[in-house]
Symmetry: none
Subunit: 215 residues, 4 copies
Amino acid sequence: MERAVRRAQVLRHAKRIFARNGYHRTNVGQIVRRARIARGTFYLYFDNKRDLFEELLAQALGEISARIRRLRIGPGEPDPVEQLRANLRRVLEFVLRERDLTDIVLNHSVGFDPELDARVSVFYQRIAQDIKRSLDLGVEMHLVRPCDTEIAANCILGGIKEVVAWAARRKRPAIVALAEEILALGLTGVARPALLESGAKARTADGRLSGEARL
Amino acid sequence: MERAVRRAQVLRHAKRIFARNGYHRTNVGQIVRRARIARGTFYLYFDNKRDLFEELLAQALGEISARIRRLRIGPGEPDPVEQLRANLRRVLEFVLRERDLTDIVLNHSVGFDPELDARVSVFYQRIAQDIKRSLDLGVEMHLVRPCDTEIAANCILGGIKEVVAWAARRKRPAIVALAEEILALGLTGVARPALLESGAKARTADGRLSGEARL
Amino acid sequence: MERAVRRAQVLRHAKRIFARNGYHRTNVGQIVRRARIARGTFYLYFDNKRDLFEELLAQALGEISARIRRLRIGPGEPDPVEQLRANLRRVLEFVLRERDLTDIVLNHSVGFDPELDARVSVFYQRIAQDIKRSLDLGVEMHLVRPCDTEIAANCILGGIKEVVAWAARRKRPAIVALAEEILALGLTGVARPALLESGAKARTADGRLSGEARL
Amino acid sequence: MERAVRRAQVLRHAKRIFARNGYHRTNVGQIVRRARIARGTFYLYFDNKRDLFEELLAQALGEISARIRRLRIGPGEPDPVEQLRANLRRVLEFVLRERDLTDIVLNHSVGFDPELDARVSVFYQRIAQDIKRSLDLGVEMHLVRPCDTEIAANCILGGIKEVVAWAARRKRPAIVALAEEILALGLTGVARPALLESGAKARTADGRLSGEARL
DNA sequence: GATGAATGAGTCTTCATTCAT
DNA sequence: GATGAATGAAGACTCATTCAT
């Protein structure tokens, strides 16, 4: 158990430095200095620098994944939107609390190791697919308008990522409000509903707006 | 003039390698080998490795910036949505043609140099602000529903980035269709308009949908 | 007494590992793991890694030395050849039983420490001198043909070492037969005696054989 | 060509140091200091320290191998002993000229790398087999007395190795004389021929000498 | 201008040894 | 005595950059 504590300690310090400086500008010397341990001690707990980084990354990706629950449809299940909201809040709660990890995932997790690149890539693709699946289901249930759900899924994923990155730069981001904004945007976009009511009729087959209904 | 040609040549090769391997896994040796020049020659045309990378990045950011025109409102100006569409298409046209540059900007432009990080950061923030300004204008003009336009702007930006990244992995992405999907998503979201018409009324203060119209 | 037992135990395990891997590819971690003691305990029994190795080496060299008795000439003493044979058998018995030690002495005892190098070197030189002395005596007694006894001594020593190394690789080497082969070789060489009888006359000054008797 | 010269230069210096200190007590720093080159330059010419050592070893083993020619029997071919003598002289000429290489092969080539160990092992085994083959041939031709030629081969090989090691410690070893001593020893052993003439008869089945014929 | 051999600072990693418990 | 976590000196290797030709 002592061991786990020590590891966690080193991980905590390393997380900080990796978040600030990225993988390559972080060297083992910085980590051990910050963690106040000897160089050799570092290698008592981690195989190497990459191993430590990998663990941080896995920690983040794992925790985020665990906070995304698949939508359940059926009698007695909560409103799908409610489920989306819950997912979003859980994820936001984590990523905005663990900003260093978030920074690592968003900014420093790509480009220095093909294997880790692949792992991150798979992580995002899985989320995109989850979203796509939800959208497909929504289309089936006539809750979601027909569209290219794959593109939509990626668009939504990207939107969340960017908002998270943005929010992580703020002092005390309001998680609930953030979730609502994202949700509303994803569901209804930015256009005024009134506008769309009339505009909806004017909408042509290829989705373009026409007539006076503009935006 | 000869000089510029030589530079461009080297840049072209380097672009390829940076896109594939990122900044740190690319070394000067690879570049000069690929460009069929001597190591020393490299330094006749570029101050150093970072300088070359910076130039590629500036190229990309500059070209993308140039393709984003500020919305003009007024008599005789085209429909704002049309202007958005044009912006989007111009950008997509470039980033999906210059995939290596896009890859560099999206995946390899962060984390090895505070100054470059800042430059990329500023680039995106400027775009986000452009979008925000447009949204604010839209709100003023009653075309856009009231919302936190800063969050919305970042969300839209992120959506575009992710879709671009996704599309860049496809063989022959259809730019026009992509632009329309993004546009539609940004404007109306994914929910069925019909649903929203009735649902809009049912929407409670905290943004939750109620009644049968759920999504 | 307990202490000596513990030491012996550790020595036994270390011997194994040193024999297999040599000095440098053996680290203290392997030894303590194998001996099921703590790292610190190791240093309660040995000054350091080198010290342990030195002891193993001394063990081997000492035991071998003890098994080589100086030839005694005189009335009532056994046949000198018989004494040689006994020496050889005693040494072979030990080195082929303690193969790990033998491996250490033959293959891993040189090159990482000037002092140990010297000790091994002295050990062999002493044996060579013993052999040389015996040969000199033999020459004096007209049992050994005049020759450069120093070279001969070294040659014999090397022969024994190599045969030992070879035999140590076999499953169950026959010590008696080995001793006889070595003895016969040292005494009479490989040439057919019959051949030599006639050939001896034909031998020219520079040692070359002539006439039909060739070998 | 310039490249080869530089390599040879570094190899020359490294050879010296490896011979004196062995593989492990030699570090790259020593080599580059001695060769008056920068650390990085070293790696321009060699993959790593082991690579350089391997090359030295290969050089030695290759040259020695090349100097050992298989015995040719037949009309017009020189006396087999003459061929042995030539082999021996060629080898001695090389190993006593290139003493550093010899030192490396004899003392520092075992125990730090399984692959190199194997290479050296194979080298010696091949020579032992060559000798054995020659002996078998000799037995067939009734030039060599029946014996365990495998043991004899190893014994002879070991004798040569040890004499070489011994001679390499002398100032100006006489190659011709050395070769003759070794040859004589291998062929006739140390016993006085006269003794053997009578002793041969007294020799019992198991090779033991009996009667007055002693030694 | 072009070349490519040379440079050496900067990093990671290992491992024998120590020492507080 | 026993433990094993901690230490830090030592050494291998990389690679952006320089400079003599």
